[in-house]
């Protein structure tokens, strides 16, 4: 229950945080920290349960009629993610207090941050897939808001929109996939689904559902070819990049894949798609990273590469691969978060993130440099950092997989990542400064403490691999695989092929890193040549095309001429109804009874009226003809057993005539219609619509008439509602609620007339403002 309250508090904080921040200024820091610390405390509280491989579950009814519940379930995987989200979240809050100080959007930033934190916790704790989906979309929205925090800048707006369109587009696909999954399994409960692998895999919906869910996960986790939004998202302030776009949100896709492994996994399709896209992303990310000089973009592309690795590992799917995926998630969140913090600190101090202009900062920023070394060790995969263990595991999993090429691809890509790691973590601090180099201005504790803490944790977990494996990795692995899987991480495995590969990676990476000036221009040239066919360009073209299409169809369908709107509506109506009518077997001419003499006269009057109205050029004649038709219709009602209708129609026609008489001489003359488009089309459309209506009425009256509603009213009008006039009883009793609505509408029409008459007169002098009434 505590978890439920925690999430609710998060939403409350979303709206109150800007206010709290304004009120308490500097003292808001401890208040804000309470939230992630409370989350950590709750998680700590259940750690024993998690170690015993069980889970905590809470459920409240939400939409019981659809079987959708507010159910949370925290198992090993959710627990590990929860720790990362709230732990790094706490550090981000500390960091942001230093980094965003005096930022114009500072106050609202915290609102968005809490929204994100809550949504992300919701994603990893949801037991119901639709609840998960809601939280998933909330993370996309908060990501949009946070990337667009610098909204006065066009670049930020564009990047925010791009991220939103890509991830929300994927979200739509995901929703369709989840609905499909529910159709197959008959449940929206994750634990239930995870036991129905056989049923899901054999369903004919399996492939579409898989593709849709992968589209959701891949867009969120920036897999190739959707990777381009992530570097764009670097327009966000650094605390956001560290939190959303490296440590947590982009891992939501990976989380989802891990979570659904028991339900969807184990098939060749799953295996092929995930490993293929994972490796492609790994390669693309590493290669693109090598072409960058901006610290944050370098980190962003290596994040893409790491996400690719995770997807690849989940695609392999055996217990070794899952083990290494979870370890990588943990290690990556720690070192990448720290390196983003470091990059932000450098930016804050030296006012540039350009590799070419950085160097020699170790002197002015010793603590930041220390943090960078700690995190860098992990990123390079050097012992004794956690990153070393994780890299060994990645190689082991790649080597054990059937295809030997996997390990080779991993080697190439990870060498690139290693080179980038050297650039980011060491170059700004230890390169000899030259005349281009920007000067640093020292450092602040809020900016170096968070990365130092993350680096120390990373180091500590590497030194004490027993804790990492037993307490953190094993429960998560078991939650993914749903079986007991002992995990034993160690720094030293002896002389193994993995150790050799690790060494080789480091060697190649170092060579690459030292020769940056020589080969980086070449990489950039290749990237520029490829730019016209890059997925990002495709996205832009798609967006422009969509806008053009929207403009075209708006100009065609909604060109401002009333007749066009009417024509389009009527023609589509004719088309749709016409198709249905044509498909029905025969036209119903069955119940034909010869009409009586006076009936023919009544109908004749109406028909004559219609023809005369369309031809007359006098307003008065038209009004009189309308009245004539109305009275004739009243007679028809009277003839066919509707005395109430007849009376209402009579009185209404009388009042309508008075209405017309009152207004008619203030109305304009009929204007000439010459000069407009030919009336032939109008006649054709009108005749077609008229014929359609006739056929429709005949079809309707040929359908067997057995209305349960009618017979209920006929039976119970007197018994239940004490009235003999069934029409009136329906109006005031059986359907009284509708009538209440109708008289309200009537009252509104009356008030509207009054408003038009009295209020618009005042603005009459100003033509443009009263033009609004022409709508």
């Amino acid at each position: 229950m505590g978890f439920m309250i925690l999430l609710l508090t998060g939403f409350v904080l979303t709206f109150t945080a800007p206010w709290i921040r304004r009120r308490l200024r500097k003292w808001s820091l401890p208040v804000f920290l309470l939230y992630p610390l409370a989350a950590l405390a709750l998680l700590w509280n259940i750690s024993e349960t998690i170690q015993k491989q069980s889970a905590i579950a809470v459920s409240l009814p939400w939409v019981p009629s659809l079987g959708v519940n507010l159910s949370l379930r925290i198992d090993g995987l959710g627990w590990l993610f929860g720790l990362l989200i709230s732990g790094i979240g706490a550090l981000v809050i500390v960091y942001a207090h230093g980094y965003l100080h005096h930022h114009p959007q500072e106050n609202r930033f915290y609102g968005f941050l809490f929204l994100f934190m809550t949504a992300m916790l919701g994603v990893v704790w949801s037991e119901d897939i639709f609840l998960l989906f809601v939280f998933w979309e909330l993370t996309s929205i908060s990501s949009f808001l946070l990337i667009g925090l610098e909204h006065p800048e066009e670049k930020a707006r564009k990047a925010a929109l791009q991220a939103l369109l890509v991830t929300a587009g994927g979200g739509l696909a995901l929703l369709a996939g989840l609905v499909g999954l529910t159709l197959i399994t008959g449940s929206s409960n994750l634990s239930v689904m995870n036991t129905l692998n056989g049923k899901i895999v054999q369903s004919e919906l399996y492939l579409p559902v898989l593709l849709l869910i992968l589209a959701g996960a891949f867009t969120k986790s920036a897999q190739f070819p959707f990777h381009f939004w992530l570097p764009g998202a670097m327009a966000a302030p650094t605390p956001v990049s560290a939190y959303l776009h490296s440590a947590t949100m982009v891992k939501a896709g990976v989380y989802l894949l891990a979570r659904l492994t028991p339900a969807l996994g184990g098939t060749p399709q799953w295996h092929t798609l995930l490993t293929l896209f994972g490796l492609a992303t790994l390669l693309a990310g590493a290669f693109l990273a090598l072409g960058q000089t901006d610290l944050k973009r370098l980190l962003a592309y290596t994040t893409v590469a790491s996400l690719g690795t995770m997807v690849f590992l989940i695609g392999l799917g055996d217990s070794l691969a899952i083990k290494s995926a979870i370890t990588l998630i943990l290690a990556h969140a720690l070192y990448k978060g720290a390196l983003f913090f470091v990059a932000g600190g450098i930016d804050h101090s030296a006012h540039t993130r350009d590799l070419n202009r950085l160097g020699g900062l170790a002197g002015t920023m010793p603590f930041t440099a220390f943090a960078a070394v700690l995190a860098g060790l992990s990123m390079l995969g050097l012992p004794p950092a956690l990153g070393f263990i994780s890299k060994e595991l990645v190689y082991e999993a790649a080597l054990e997989s059937a295809s030997g090429g996997n390990a080779l691809i991993a080697l190439i890509a990870l060498s690139g990542v290693t080179a980038v790691g050297i650039w980011v973590a060491f170059l700004p601090f230890w390169k000899k400064p030259d005349e281009q180099t920007a000067r640093g201005h020292g450092e602040e504790i809020t900016l170096w403490l968070p990365p130092v803490l993350l680096g120390l944790i990373s180091l500590g977990l590497g030194l004490l691999p027993g804790i990492a494996s037993k307490a953190l990795v094993q429960p998560a692995v078991e939650a993914v695989l749903l079986k007991s899987t002992p995990v034993k991480l160690a720094l030293w495995h002896g002389f193994t092929p993995m150790l050799a590969l690790s060494g080789l990676t480091l060697a190649i990476g170092t060579v690459l890193a030292l020769n940056r000036m020589r080969f980086q221009p070449a990489v950039q040239t290749i990237l520029q040549t490829l730019a016209p066919i890059s997925p990002e360009r495709g996205y832009e073209r798609g967006l422009t095309g969509l806008k053009h299409f929207a403009a075209l169809q708006t100009n065609f369908l909604q060109n401002g001429y009333f007749r066009r709107y009417l024509m389009v509506t009527i023609l589509s109506g004719i088309l749709l109804v016409g198709i249905v009518l044509l498909q029905s077997d025969s036209l119903p001419w069955t119940s034909f009874t010869p009409p009586r003499f006076y009936e023919v006269i009544l109908v004749g009057v109406i028909l004559t009226g219609v023809f005369s109205v369309t031809r007359t050029s006098s307003r008065m004649v038209a009004a009189a003809l309308l009245g004539m038709m109305g009275f004739t219709i009243a007679l028809i009602y009277l003839l066919y057993s509707a005395p109430d209708l007849a009376m209402v129609q009579f009185t209404i026609e009388t009042l309508s005539v008075i209405l017309f008489v009152l207004v008619i001489y203030r109305l304009p003359q009929f204007t000439r219609t010459r000069g407009g488009p030919p009336a032939v089309l109008d006649v054709v459309v009108s005749v077609a619509a008229g014929v359609l209506v006739t056929v429709l009425v005949l079809t309707l009256s040929a359908v067997p008439h057995d209305s349960l509603v009618t017979s209920f009213y006929a039976e119970n009008s007197l018994k239940l509602a004490q009235g003999r006039n069934v029409v009136n009883v329906i109006l005031v009793d059986f359907r009284g609620f509708d009538t209440l609505g109708e008289i309200t509408v009537l009252a509104l029409a009356g008030i509207g007339v009054f408003a038009l008459l009295k209020l618009s007169g005042k603005t009459e002098a100003i033509r443009t403002s009263s033009q609004e009434e022409t709508k």
Binding site: W589, I652, T671, S686, V726
Partner: protein, 125 residues
């Protein structure tokens, strides 16, 4: 008779539509009125025509004795008639005020809702 009424409803609808496609504001309004009458007739005819058996429970009975005219479409149409009076009044006054403030009753001249139309091309783009 239902064939005759079906044709009447069709003609009324078609005629009303033709009027609504005219450029003159008054004609559009008259067309609207004709269509609302046509729709009432459609509902009425589709609900079956029963001569001389109004849905009133006669004294001594406890329920309607078949055959009787269906009261449901009648209840529908009854409110529709009254509401269409309100809508008509609103439309007429709207039209009158439009004419007063624009000095024009040509639908083709009323294409823009918030800015005066000056350039055809500009308004189209």
């Amino acid at each position: 008779m239902n064939v005759l009424l079906a044709i009447t409803a069709g003609v009324l609808f078609g005629g009303g539509l033709f009027m609504m496609l005219r450029r003159s504001l008054v004609r559009v309004l008259i067309g609207l009125l004709m269509i609302s009458n046509a729709v009432n007739l459609i509902i009425f005819t589709a609900g079956r025509l029963v001569p001389a058996r109004p849905p009133l429970i006669s004294a001594g009975e406890s329920a309607l004795q078949p055959p009787y005219a269906d009261p449901v479409p009648q209840a529908l149409i009854l409110t529709a008639i009254v509401i269409s009076f309100g809508v008509t009044a609103f439309a007429i006054v709207l039209m009158q005020q439009t004419y007063r403030s624009l000095g024009n009753a040509d639908m083709n001249e009323m294409r823009s809702t918030d800015t005066p139309v000056e350039d055809e091309e500009e308004a189209a783009s």
